[in-house]
């Protein structure tokens, strides 16, 4: 079985062709870099995405946040719910951990901007 994908690693958007046999990736075509090849394998076996959103601080200012790494696609909405429950005070430094373990993935959510210095 083959699956055709568009790579999301960079704006080039390479067209990938992944060959699968019994759920195992046996071949990837069309990538231009290692990130693309890794993406193809991940996308057909255990797809992941970065989650970016904002957290409203007690002071009323919105702080942009992101998962430190991509998380499983099916955890995105659970991650959003957990981030919404976070209570945060200024000041915040870029890189500060906002949530240690997003939706049980073990991946932290971190601030993407310094505010309120």
């Amino acid at each position: 079985m083959t699956r055709n994908l568009i790579c999301i690693c960079c704006p080039r958007g390479c067209q990938l062709e992944v060959t699968l046999q019994d759920g195992q990736v046996t071949d990837v075509k069309g990538f231009s870099c290692k990130r693309g090849k890794d993406y193809a394998v991940s996308e057909v076996t255990a797809p992941v995405r970065m989650v970016t959103t904002t957290v409203r601080t007690e002071e009323g200012v919105s702080v942009p946040v992101k998962t430190a790494q991509p998380i499983p696609k099916d955890k995105i909405f659970a991650c959003m719910e957990e981030i919404k429950a976070v209570r945060l005070h200024l000041p915040v430094q870029m890189g500060d951990v906002i949530l240690e373990n997003a939706a049980g993935t073990g991946i932290p959510v971190i601030a993407a901007r310094s505010l309120g210095e």
């Binding site: 568009i6 960079c10 704006p11 958007g13 995405r49 970016t52 959103t53 409203r56 942009p64 959003m80």
Partner: protein, 418 residues
Amino acid sequence: MREFDLAVIGGGPAGMAAALAAKESGLERIVIFERDSVMGGILNQCIHNGFGLHTFQEELTGPEYAERYFRKVQEAGIPYETGTMVLDITPDRQITVISRERGVETVQAASVILAMGCRERPRGTLGIAGFRPQGIYTAGTAQRLLNIDGVLPGKEAVILGSGDIGLIMARRMTLEGAHVSAVFELMPYCNGLNRNVVQCLEDYNIPLHLSHTVVEIHGKDKLEGVTVAAVENGKPVPGSEEYFPCDILLLSCGLIPENELSRGCGIGINPLTNGPVVDDRLETNIEGVFACGNVLHIHDLVDYVSAEAAQAGRSAAAFVQGQRGDGGETHQIIPGDGVRYTVPCSFHRNSREDTHLRFRVRSIYRDATILISCGDQVIAKRKAPVLLPSEMQDITLKYPLLEQADADIIVRIEGVTA
């Protein structure tokens, strides 16, 4: 009157990169004027990731990209004045600014870099019938409301236009609990990047309908819905109309460089880009005034903006320091078959620097060849499996190549249009 070697108009990614490059090239008396209360420009509201792969070799969010540049500006000791709006620039580079701290003030700059960015195409330019109810926003306005002000501006959304901001907002609204019924695009191709179609629409089962547009807006005080129709040969197809109830319509129909200041200064504007006409030094027709970033032409990637802006910074420094030669004779760069525009529009034969030729194609091409010719001779050639109007092309013309170019250069595309 305060005097500067370089005044940079705009503290977004273009302005910061230009100021940094000018400083590295030895200019000392630099100032950045920024209208907003913070530096960083539009990046502050672009909280999604995908920035910085070229510049930093890693994938950052917009605010992170901005903050990294802002820290460099601070470390370099480059003065910046926020909350400061430029009102006027004269051809002899006197700049009138207004701020709460200084009131109205005129300063003298030896060189000026225009880095004002762009605005979104508003509803008024789109020609959609109907009333003007509350609930119609440009995608970027909604992005600001949601990401900076923390307000979700609607619950049931329709998006017109497939620009990247619209695609990004389709995902963002969905994550925040709104329902996005579809994205409609007038053109037969998507204007945003393929990666955004995948990760913003397909991931959330949001359909993209090409060759469709909104033909009527319903609701008098508050938006109630839109009628959408298929489009053929620029006209709505009778009988194809479909009604979509919604309380918010997002418009992602293109960006327009913000050149009121440039026009006021007498700078020539290229009708193809709505940005200043510049030469290979990114200098406008007014000596010592340069342009870069989205005020010059619309870019897909901030990384390209930073690179272009750095070139403008170096050019301004060379001008102020009297280090540039006369450049020799100049020739035009002309968009030929399949090419919508080029930046720059002209080049100096003896500029002694490589020239970045940036341009966009008119339609989708497959198995294409980009041909750059001078007179009867093809001087550069590049093959491309696919060329998309949504992707800016960037070809470096090596200096010795241009030194030999004794006539205008034409850029054209050969290939199959799809």
